[in-house]
């Protein structure tokens, strides 16, 4: 047995909810050598996930991101017709069902009746804390948030967020599993809304929308500022290492020099206005000037190619 098979006791992974996120997870686990069962409450979505997974594997292969034959990886993925079939004997369940508390809660109730005593459940929710749907059940100690960035088979970061009832060993298992399948683990120690990734995205987006609203800069110029400026360093260092290297004495020196300025900017209170209809219309109009509605789909394909190339470069350059 390989290390990852030892970790999972050779048991399969169940993917529950087989849309874009679930299919992406299936690629991650199958690529790592695990048997993967795929289930969606909508059988059409279950059926469609297989060609989707196949095309994602083809992309990875084209960019040299997998060495194994894509067909051999796909052969480890089995679509199934019921939740019971999906989770029977499974060592790990990755749920990516609809982002609604009632839907997630119902799934937990169902899993509570179906799962063996050792199976761990990871939820892909991008913002609903486990406290809202995973408490008070016999499986509660074995449930945690395992939040990926889309698509998880390309972008490695995963946020692990325990609920107050999640057992410490559940987090240890999830971290080991994520490391074994090649993801990067971030520990979110408290159940804050949006976790870490979407909180950071939220404050930057909020400022970006405010700058457009106040006529300081266009959407396109704000995108340029990030993609041809800020984003370069952040893409291989993150914000703390960036400022740590940006003052002679490191991060404390930086905080003394620039903390006041940054504090003032963050406190200016320019963010009271919501993303109201007028502003949304303005931003939409600017974006559609750059990219027609009908070109969104092909631009998404471009993005995915860029991410593949980014992943390939990262693998080479470390």
């Amino acid at each position: 047995m390989t290390d990852i098979q030892k970790l999972t006791g050779g048991r399969p992974v169940a993917i529950v909810g087989a849309g874009l996120v679930g299919a992406g997870w299936a690629v991650v686990y199958a690529r790592a050598g695990l048997q993967v069962r795929v289930f969606d409450a909508n059988p059409d979505i279950t059926a469609r996930s297989v060609p989707l997974i196949e095309s994602q594997l083809a992309g990875l292969h084209r960019h040299g991101l997998i060495s194994e034959d894509p067909a051999a990886i796909l052969a480890r993925v089995t679509p199934v017709a019921t939740l019971a079939e999906a989770v029977e004997g499974a060592g790990y369940v990755q749920e990516s069902v609809l982002e609604r508390v009632d839907v997630k809660r119902q799934l937990m109730l169902d899993l509570d009746g179906l799962l063996g005593p050792e199976a761990i459940v990871g939820s892909s929710t991008s913002g609903i804390p486990g406290s809202a749907f995973a408490l008070g059940l016999s499986i509660s100690p074995r449930v945690l948030i395992v939040h990926p960035v889309n698509p998880p088979y390309l972008v490695p970061v995963v946020e692990l967020v325990p609920s107050p009832e999640t057992a410490a060993e559940t987090v240890v298992f999830a971290e080991a599993l994520m490391n074994a399948v090649g993801q990067t683990v971030v520990h979110v120690r408290k159940e804050v809304e949006g976790f870490v990734l979407n909180r950071l995205q939220a404050v930057l987006l909020r400022e970006a929308w405010a700058l457009v609203q106040e006529g300081v800069a266009s959407c396109e110029d704000i995108d340029k500022t990030v993609r041809d400026g800020l984003g370069w360093r952040w893409s291989f260092m993150g914000p703390f290492e960036t400022i740590d290297l940006n003052a002679p004495g490191g991060v404390a020196d930086y905080a003394v020099r620039l903390g006041g300025l940054y504090q003032r900017i963050a406190h200016e209170g320019r963010h009271e206005a919501a993303w109201d209809a007028g502003l949304i219309k303005e931003v939409e109009s600017q974006r559609r000037g750059f990219l027609a509605q009908g070109d969104l789909e092909s631009r998404r394909a471009w993005r995915d190619e860029k991410l593949m190339a980014f992943a390939a470069a990262r693998r080479k350059g470390g």
Copy 2:
């Protein structure tokens, strides 16, 4: 004459203030084929700028980012002993003197007496608006902020910020010059503190510090969240294109779906505490756990190599 020589009338560029930023600008202009005069009020800094420029050109050459012989580029850079020598007959002055209003104001007064009637002045200030030091002079219509990211010969974005007295044709010239030397122009239409780039950085940093303070995540985990997650897309798309592609119907659809969540996060008011001494000490201690004080310098060299590689990949991949 090449296009860029036509643009500048074949006249030289004057670099005033020859520290890290000034030397970086000298590389940008000399690489583009322009004659560059370098001056710093401190003659030691003027002298040291030449080997600094030489080593930067060597790095660019090593990464295939310049095709011309580095010695030929360096031969276009001339250190001079006085401000008058630097700006005599110059078509463009890039000032990168100390980030203090009084120092910048004195330089503008000096330039006002020295410059010919057509010379344009770009200031590298990262946060002081032109209104604070460049008004009421005969040169005021020809002064604007031309704010680079460090180092400008690698990271292309430049913010152009006119003061209320800057002439429209000055912005037009600066944009044409930046495009001609290979930079990416962002127009900042109002003199807001921190312009666009540092405002976006400020709000993300402020949230990052708050997350550490509240024990939600460690510095290292926040860095991972960005460098292995958020930063990937931002490094080639920017925040607006990212969300435009992240909802089926584009950015307006995204705003309807997620605007409320992002608004709530941005408004939670978790940012009242300053970067106080205790928090700075905590972050410093976490960072020094990853990178000893004595290793900062070598890590900066690593960063610059990564940026060179990033620039080389960008050039190939578009």
